[in-house]
Symmetry: D2
Subunit: 248 residues, 4 copies
Amino acid sequence: MSYLNRANGYAPTGNVNSEPDLVQRPRFTNKVEVSLIDWMGRDGDIVNAARVSTKGAASLGMNEGARGLISYLMRNRHGTPFEHGAMKFLVTAPLFVWREHHRHRIGFSYNEESGRYKQLDPVFYVPEFARTQEGKPGHYKMTDSPGDLTALMEHELEYIATYAYESYDKMLKAGIAREVARMCLPVNIVSSCYVTCNPRSLMHFLGLRNAGEAQHEIRAVAQQYEAHFARLYPETHKAFIEGGRVAP
Amino acid sequence: MSYLNRANGYAPTGNVNSEPDLVQRPRFTNKVEVSLIDWMGRDGDIVNAARVSTKGAASLGMNEGARGLISYLMRNRHGTPFEHGAMKFLVTAPLFVWREHHRHRIGFSYNEESGRYKQLDPVFYVPEFARTQEGKPGHYKMTDSPGDLTALMEHELEYIATYAYESYDKMLKAGIAREVARMCLPVNIVSSCYVTCNPRSLMHFLGLRNAGEAQHEIRAVAQQYEAHFARLYPETHKAFIEGGRVAP
Amino acid sequence: MSYLNRANGYAPTGNVNSEPDLVQRPRFTNKVEVSLIDWMGRDGDIVNAARVSTKGAASLGMNEGARGLISYLMRNRHGTPFEHGAMKFLVTAPLFVWREHHRHRIGFSYNEESGRYKQLDPVFYVPEFARTQEGKPGHYKMTDSPGDLTALMEHELEYIATYAYESYDKMLKAGIAREVARMCLPVNIVSSCYVTCNPRSLMHFLGLRNAGEAQHEIRAVAQQYEAHFARLYPETHKAFIEGGRVAP
Amino acid sequence: MSYLNRANGYAPTGNVNSEPDLVQRPRFTNKVEVSLIDWMGRDGDIVNAARVSTKGAASLGMNEGARGLISYLMRNRHGTPFEHGAMKFLVTAPLFVWREHHRHRIGFSYNEESGRYKQLDPVFYVPEFARTQEGKPGHYKMTDSPGDLTALMEHELEYIATYAYESYDKMLKAGIAREVARMCLPVNIVSSCYVTCNPRSLMHFLGLRNAGEAQHEIRAVAQQYEAHFARLYPETHKAFIEGGRVAP
């Protein structure tokens, strides 16, 4: 179709924006972004928190026994020592990821861009490859699709995003409130959010979201979380893996 | 394109479904729906829970002193007696409402339709009137717009919804996974969710969401919640109002 | 010792209370009590909550497929459908049990007797048998003790409880505030509490507390919870057992 | 101490410890202790978290507008930006304080000494002054008592603590399990606990516990928390005070 010239790449042709300032040109991405902004605590703090139960306030830091203790706590689901840390991330991901992410209620704090308070930027997520599904809900097998399905997907997602953002922009310029105009935007528009959690709540997230059943995009967020987690808490992460990725 | 003739106005023409199974005709609504499905507890149970502190396990039910006790608990933010009840609702609302609603984490349980597990129905929310905003974030004054802005809004929202659902349907029929195809759907598509809360968590919701700063659509959900709440817990609701709508 | 005449049973001799109204005679119990006061929801409601994900708002109640669905949800740790119910218990147990119980923060609501607001009754928990422990923390093997250890335990617990309550009473009668006087009371004094939870949070409790590592007394509470739970939610309980008693 | 003379009544003489290792001599304290162990976040982080709503991911740190923003968030109960920090404390306080403290469930993590896993040390809290109460529950007026009531209180609390710890020790030495022997210990025995919270959950605690209605001892914990909080988050603390000490 003429409105989207694929010969020139995935982006809509200049026609959309032929009048200056009429509307920002949409941008497309197949990435989610995770930055670790701040953190508190290391493996040794988990050990100290656990040892207050058995030794009172004396704390000993990491040593060989400490590794065994972390492993013991994990296996026996003694979860509270894993709560005395914090990790703060800044994450950019599409709305359909946020809808899943925000369902994690316990040990997670969020502050996300608001479509009521600001004009959302025209950045949209389009997967690198289309996927097909087989199997029943909860047991889907997803397979990367051949090129023609990917081309169809790109075409459709970019086409809708482009027109939707144009409609959004038109409504805003006509004076319609942001909270109304945004109603036309698709769930692959990206949004930034601060996410703060603790090692325990993060492991719960990782167990469910860095897993085969999880959708590719939230898994991509989870994988980046897990890389940070493994670096900050190497012994805890090791015990999490060895324990079958079940949060304590 | 034939099925959406902009020259003829903004609603899709009847042609949309002239070919069987091509795509479901989109439906538009300006309503949110709330049904009370089940509940546990009444005013007297709050009184009994509070009195265990002062009288042990003996319980007395509602009486004049009980009304004063509810009012006292509310004013002094003794919140726990208001947690020993439950209300289960089935709510149908657009995704942008769910995005705000799901941010209520404590004392709220959710099960919502999944765009990964089922094909979403083509039902989209379009406000009865467009709105304009004045003022700064957090102090917006929203005003219902004159007819031409409402006409523009209806046109744009219906136009994008119609095209988006057609894209969605096309991708599904081509074999693309639901979790990918849904990425083009706008945030005014409606979705159903079970919501279970307790009187305390509901009052917290009502204090923030049945309030002037809240967006019209989540306020419409909150108003229906509040009508059920007032009927189930008349004394508690009265004390909530008298206390300035601050949850204990 | 003369102050506690075991020939007359476990209770202190009348000498303690020889002056009328000086102090209430302590009572001893080796039981914890759990009453189900109210509830909302059955197995079918879990099924309906889960099905909203896949079928939207239509609900179907229990049937053969429903049993499989509950089992599937449990095995795959899809926990939220198990939150749309409520059970309210009135529980009487010693303070050392409450100290463990109150550590269950999520999905549990509590209102307990207050030592600041009322004079606590002189009822104290004494185990039926003394126990000895072997092994390391977290792997204790507890064994019921021979009669002489049980006699020693009864003697000591009853002796301290009796004198402590007498001190408490003396301080109260002298005009000392309840919140100060109660500081002498031992942690085996019993207290009543309303406890409201949902099937998911209760299963988490049962997995940890109706288990070999749990202390006998909190396990006795958990066993009574579990009996009520099995009766109200037979299919869910069955799936919980079959899944190795791991809460979803 | 002269007031504790077995010859004159029920208190243990110095003989109690004349045989080495028979039993530790009890120690008494009228203090609670709070140490800040670790923290994450400052005022500027609250501002950044809030601004993601209105400006996306760009963050600006503290400045004059930032102060106004914190105040605005506090007054309008926008609580989530106050959750992206953490403070970890090590606190030593009597059990009756922990029983109140642990009732704070949301945004609080705890690891406390366990009477099942270790022998508790014989350290007991005795207030500096006895108190008398006037008024109804929830409106008590507490007054420091004249010297004779304080002397009575000290006598009774020290007497019971001494005997209880002696009983505890005797049961342990006879081979009774720690979890049973500890049942005789009074609620003024002190215990150490790691407490991790965030600025929002801490303000909720401070609003209820550093307040006139709170018991002196938990207020003493809260006051020390508040001193740390005011130092780490001066602007947030100022806004909390100006807003009437209501957590957002």
